[in-house]
C-alpha cells in the first residue's frame, strides 16, 4: 500500500448527523427544509445559531439563493462560507472543505447542510435548467432527467462486463430490505427480485425500481475540532481520509468508471486501512449500475467483477457486505442535493452506533461515496470518505 503525503484530518471531527424526514411532495420551500436542518443541528449540538461560524450549503431548488443569501435568511453571522453545486458529490466536498477550514482555524463550527423541496413541478424545472450542455445536447432528446444517460451507461456496462438486470436487482432488493427497517424511508413495501424484474421499463435497460423517487428533505452535520466536540460532549466521527475527482476519464467512450478509480489507492493509504477493513459502504445510488461501479472503483473488486461481487455478497444490514443501510436513495427517496448527504449522514450514525433499527453490528469503519452532475453523457463529480467511530 502506498503512503500518503496529504495532511491527515487530525483532531477534526464530524458530529450531529441530522435528517429531516422526507416527504414525496412538499409545499414548503427549499429554505424551509434547510432551516429545519439547521435547527436540528443547533438543537442536537446544544449550541445557538451564534455559535455557527462556518456555513456550507447545497440545494437545487433554493432559487436565486446561494449560501450568502441564506445567512441573512437564517440569521447566521459566519466567517467562512461555501455553496457547493456538485449534486451527489456535494456531501464529500462539503466535508473536505469544512474539515480543512476547521483545521486551519478559519472556522470553529461549520454547519454542512443540503436540502431541497419537491413541488409538483420542481423536478421538471431542475431538469430544464440543469446545465448548459444538458440544455443544449441532452434535454432536447426527451431524456427526462438522468434516466436516458444512465440507460446508455448501464447498457454499455452490461454488454461490456456481462452484467444482467438481475445483478442490478440484487442491489435494489437488498436496499429495500434495509429500508423496511428505516422508519423515514418513503418506500414501505417489500420488493422481491421478481417484482424488480417485471417492473415497467423506463428507458431500457432502466426499469422502475432502478430509479429514485424525487422528494423533499434535508440532511446535515457539523464539522468542528475534537476539542470543541469534547467540550460540547458530542459523540464525534473521525475523518480517516477523503478523495475527490472531477471530469475523470473523459476519453472513455462511454462511462465505465468514475473518478474514484484515479484516487482509490490514495483513499486507503491516507486512512491506513484496506477495503477488507471497511465494515459498511454507503454508495451514491441514483441507479444501481453506478453503485456497482463504485464497488469496483473503490477497490472492493476489480473492474468488471461488479456483477460477480453482488452475486457473492449479501448487501443487507446483517449481510456480508452491508450497503446503503438506510435503504439509500432508491428506497428512502432522493431529496435533491440531500441525496448526496444521505449516505454520509447514515455512515456517521453507523460509526457512532446511533443508527437504531438499521445499525450494522460492530460498525467501526465505514465508507461513504458521492457521485454527481450528469452534465452531458456522464457523471462528472465523484468523491469518497472513510469515517471511523470514536472508539477506533
Amino acid at each position: 500500500m502506498q503512503s500518503s503525503i496529504r495532511t491527515p484530518y487530525d483532531r477534526v471531527v464530524m458530529a450531529v448527523p441530522v435528517t429531516i424526514p422526507y416527504v414525496r411532495y412538499s409545499i414548503e420551500s427549499a429554505q424551509w427544509w434547510i432551516g429545519r436542518a439547521l435547527k436540528a443541528l443547533v438543537d442536537g449540538a446544544g449550541i445557538t445559531p451564534r455559535d455557527i461560524d462556518g456555513f456550507c450549503v447545497s440545494s437545487f431548488t433554493a432559487g436565486l439563493d446561494s449560501g450568502i443569501s441564506l445567512t441573512q435568511h437564517f440569521g447566521l453571522c459566519v466567517r467562512w462560507i461555501d455553496t457547493i453545486p456538485l449534486g451527489g458529490a456535494s456531501a464529500i466536498a462539503a466535508l473536505r472543505r469544512a474539515a480543512r477550514a476547521v483545521q486551519a482555524g478559519d472556522a470553529r463550527i461549520v454547519a454542512c447542510v443540503a436540502g431541497d423541496t419537491n413541488h409538483v413541478d420542481s423536478f421538471r424545472y431542475t431538469l430544464e435548467n440543469f446545465s448548459r450542455f444538458n440544455q443544449d445536447a441532452v434535454y432536447p432528446y426527451g431524456a427526462g432527467g438522468a434516466n436516458a444517460s444512465f440507460a446508455l451507461i448501464a447498457r454499455n456496462y452490461m454488454r461490456t462486463f456481462g452484467a444482467r438486470r438481475e445483478d442490478f436487482g440484487r442491489i435494489a432488493v437488498a436496499q429495500r430490505s434495509n429500508a423496511l427497517r428505516n422508519p423515514h424511508a418513503l418506500m414501505k413495501a417489500p420488493l422481491t427480485l421478481d417484482q424488480y424484474m417485471s417492473a415497467r421499463p423506463i428507458a431500457d435497460p432502466i426499469h422502475l425500481f432502478d430509479c429514485v423517487m424525487p422528494c423533499a428533505g434535508a440532511e446535515g452535520f457539523l464539522v468542528m475540532s475534537e476539542d470543541v466536540a469534547a467540550s460540547l460532549k458530542l459523540p464525534a466521527v473521525k475523518i480517516l481520509s477523503t478523495i475527490e475527482r472531477h471530469n475523470a476519464f473523459g476519453d472513455d467512450p462511454v462511462q465505465v468508471r468514475g473518478g474514484w478509480a484515479m484516487d482509490v489507492d490514495e483513499l486507503y493509504a491516507m486512512a491506513g486501512v484496506k477495503p477488507d477493513d471497511i465494515d459498511f459502504v454507503q454508495t451514491y445510488d441514483d441507479y444501481p449500475v453506478i453503485s456497482m461501479m463504485q464497488f469496483e472503483d473503490l477497490g472492493f473488486c476489480r473492474k468488471g467483477e461488479g456483477p460477480d461481487f453482488v452475486r457473492q455478497h449479501d448487501l443487507t444490514i446483517d449481510g456480508s457486505f452491508p450497503h446503503n443501510t438506510s435503504g439509500g436513495q432508491l428506497s428512502v427517496g432522493q431529496a435533491g442535493a440531500g441525496g448526496a448527504y444521505l449516505g454520509m449522514v447514515e455512515a456517521m450514525r453507523q460509526v457512532l452506533g446511533q443508527a437504531g433499527p438499521t445499525q450494522v453490528g460492530n460498525a467501526r469503519i465505514g465508507l461513504a461515496s458521492g457521485f454527481g452532475m450528469i452534465n452531458y453523457d456522464r457523471g462528472l463529480a465523484s468523491g469518497a470518505a472513510i469515517l471511523a467511530g470514536p472508539g477506533s
Binding site: F123, R124, L127, E128, R132, F133, Q135, D136, A137, V138, Y139, P140, Y141, G142, A143, G144, G145, N147, A148, S149, A151, L152, I153, R155, N156, R159, R200, P201, I202, A203, D204, P205, I206, P253, V254, Y376, D377
Partner: protein, 413 residues
Amino acid sequence: MIEPIVKPRRKNPLQRTRLPTSPPRARSRASHGFTRAAAEGRFMLQRCGACGAFCYPARDACPACLSADLVFADAPRRGTLLSETTLHVPADVHFRERAPWRVGLVAMECGPKLVTHLHADCEEGRPVVMSFQLDKSGQAVAFAHPERETPNMADDRQWREMTADPKFRRVLVTNGRSIVGQEVVAALKAAGASIVFVGVAEPWKPFRGEEALRALEGVEIVPLDIGDEKSVADLAADIGGKVDILVNTTEHVRAGGLLDRQGTSVVRDEIDQSYLGFVHLAQAFGPVMRMRGADGVNSAAAWVNILSVYALANWPVFGAYSASQAACLSLSHSLRAELRPGGVKVVNVLTGPLDIEWFQTVPPPKVAPRAVASAIVSALKRGLEDVFVGDVAEDIRQRLAANPKAVERELGA
C-alpha cells in the same frame, strides 16, 4: 426494418385534434451554429482553429487547448452507435406522447460523442451517418441514420417528426398558371402527396399547361386570387383544415427600379401580389395549420415560400421587385416564429432568375422551374429551412458572406 406508413383515412370530424406540443427549446447562443447547419442541411461541428480538434456540445473554448478560436465547420458525418436506449416514460410532454422513443450515444470518427435521436434501422455497434435536423421546436438536434439505405427509411416515425415529407400529405400550390407552379404540382404528386389543391385565379380563363394539370390524378383546381383577401378567405374556409403543406408559388416579376417608372401603380401591384398576397395567405391558412401541427401522419408540416435571392441584396435592374421580395423574406421570419408553436416549418427557397418569360432579357445561368420544384420536394423530405437553388443564388449567398458591401456595389454597377 421500417413498415411503410399507411395512408390516413378520412378524419372523423367528431374526434378531438391532438394539439401540438414542443420539445425543449432552450439553447445556448453558441449552439445555434447547429441551428444554422440544420436549416441548410449541413453537418457542422465546432472545430478549433488552433489545434484542429472537433468538439461537441457547443463550447466557448476548446477543451483540448483552451483556444477561443472555435468555428463551425463542415465535419465528417460518420460515427459508431455506442449505446442506445428506448425511452418509455420521458418527463417531457412532447416525448411522453410520442413514446417509445429511441436515443443513443454516437462516437464520431472525428472525435466528439453525440447524444442523438435514432432512425429505427440504426444498430448498436454499427456505423451511422449523422445529420442535424430542426425538430418541432425549430431548434437543431442530432439525428443518426443507418449507414446504407434501408427499405422505407423515410417512413421512420422519428425521422418523420423531423421532416415535412409530402408523402400522404395534402398540399396547396397557390398559383397553377405559372410553369413553376405546374412543376411543383407534378413534383409533389411524384413525391406521394395525396392531393394537391392548385390555386388558379379566374379559372374560366384557359392557360398553358391546363390540360396536363387537370389530367393529373389527385390534383384539384381551386379558385384563388391571392391579391384578393376574400378569395383567399373563401378558399381557406373550404379547404383550410386539409392543407398540410402550403407552397406559395406566387410570381409577380416586373423589371425596373424607381426612377424609370411613372407613379406607383406597378409598385402597388408588386406589393399587392407578393407582399399582401402573402399576408392574406398567412392570415387565412396559418392559424389552422399551426393548430394542426401534430394531427397524425398528415399533420400540417410546412409552409414554403419561393423567393428571389435578390431579397437578400437589391438588384437595381429589378429593384422594386427585389424590395418586394425582401419584404416577403422579412415577413417569412415572422411567420416562422408564429408557426413554431405548431411545429410547422417555414421553408424559404431562394432562387436566382428563373428561366421564365419575365426574366427574358437576363443572361444565363437561369434556374429551370423544374429545379425549383425538385429543390422544394428535397427540402421537405430533408426538413430544411433555408434553400438556395441554382448557381446565381449560391453565388450571392457566398459573396454576401464574404463582403455584403461588394455585393451592393457590384449588383448596382
